[in-house]
Structures are given as structure tokens and as C-alpha cells.
Amino acid sequence: MPSTDVINQIGLSHYLVLSAALFTMGFLGVLMRRNVLVMMMCIELMLNAVNLTFIAFSKFSGRIDGQIMVFFVMTIAAAEAAVGLAIIVSIFKRYREVNIRFFEHLKG
């Protein structure tokens, strides 16, 4: 890499590092939080981080397909959130519980 001006020359790697940071944060949340809803939010955060890489690669490789992938990922994420929340709500309605450790009882 010829350019050394890390602060002013914003390039692909900046976006990638940012997205890596967000991704790991989300993953940490999935591993550490107890609330199922928060875990789902952390999954959304991870998906968003991945979206950022898609967009960054799309921009820096000059192909629009990355943006379309993001479009699709968003759809899938929304569908996932809808179904996931529906499941959580039906469990909550019955047991008044959102702790992930409680969900262990659902094991067959």
C-alpha cells in the first residue's frame, strides 16, 4: 500500500475493519447476553456488519451486485426477525420468560 495517510485516505480496509469490529461486537453479544431479544438484536448487528462489507466491496470493485446482495440480506434479516419474534412472543405469552437459559427446556 503506497499511501500512508491512514487518517485522511479512507479506503476499503477502513470499512472492513469497522465491519469486523461491529461483527465481533455482535458475536460477543450473542454469546454473552441472556435476553433472547437482545441476542436477536446482536444477530441483526452482525448482519449489518456483513452488509457493510458487501457495500464496501461493491464500491471498490465497481460491481453493483454487492448492493443487490445487501438488499436480499435485508429481506432475509427482516423475515428472520419476524419469525424469531413471533416464536419468542408465543413462548413469552405462555411462560413469561425471555431468558435464553430457560429455552434449554425446549430441548426434546
Binding site: L16, S58, A79, I88
Partner: protein, 177 residues
Amino acid sequence: MTADAFIFWFLSLVAVTSGLSVVMMANPIYSALSLAMTMVSLAALFATLGAYFIAGVQVIVYAGAVMVLFVIVLMLFDLREETKAFTRGQVSGALKIAMIGFLAGLIVMVMAQGVKFLAAPDVVDAAKLPEDSSKALGLVLFNRHIFGFEALGVLLLVVAVGTVALARSKGGTHAKH
């Protein structure tokens, strides 16, 4: 610092801060609101990359719809401050954190390698994309990705039917504990 660089650093600061607070906040409602904030700042970052339409969709779909749903559910359930927000296992907790750290390092290293491959001068040509890419997006979407488009339509239909069925369910067949 140039204006573009300033915007990038500012937005990434916002994104990282709010992302951290998603994970760290004990009150799930604050988590959700922080996540909405992250999503908006990510949308702005998309805009810095020229993906204006996707940025708009990010705000509409994620911040304006999915997170609203989360907040509504949280408020419906009346979930407030949690005393035990984090799982506490001595060994597994340490293992998890160690793994996350290791993973973060690995991801950055892999990306650094990947960028090296991508950095061939003919590939990194940001001028290839038009400044306003929404029309190009539509053209490509309906040419090359038309099948995925239709499939997602069906997926959404299935999810719509499924969630209604789930929401109607009385919550399982077993006796209450």
C-alpha cells in the same frame, strides 16, 4: 482532515459506540434504541460509499421497521432493567471472551490479506459505479437476479402466513409448569 474523512471517522465512532452499547446496556430497550442508532449510522456509511438507495432502504427497513418491531415487543412485554443481563459461567465466559478476541484478530488479518488481493490497481476503480446507482441497481436486479427476487417474494409470503399462525398459537401443547 478532509471532510470525507471526518464524516467517515465520525460515523464509525457513532456506529462503534452505539454498537457497543447494544451489547453492554442492561436495559434491553436502550439496547434496541442503540441498535437503531447503529443502523442509521451504517446507512450514512452506505451513503458515503455511493449506495444511496440501499442506505435509504436500510433506514426504512431496519431502523424504521425491524427495530420498531423490536421496541414494540419490548414495550409490550414491559421488559425493564435486568439484574442478570450477562451469562456468568467462569470457564465458558473466559473461553468465550478469549475466542472473541482471537476471532477479531483473525478476521482483521484475513481481511488484510483479502484487501491485498483486491488491491490490484485494475480492480480498485471506484469510478466504475455511477454516482447515483439506484437505476443501475434496478437494471441489474431485474436482469441477473430476477429469480432471487421472485423467490424472496414467496419467502415473504410464507413468513407472513407463518407468523400469523405463530401469533395465533396459544403457546404450545404441554401443560404449564
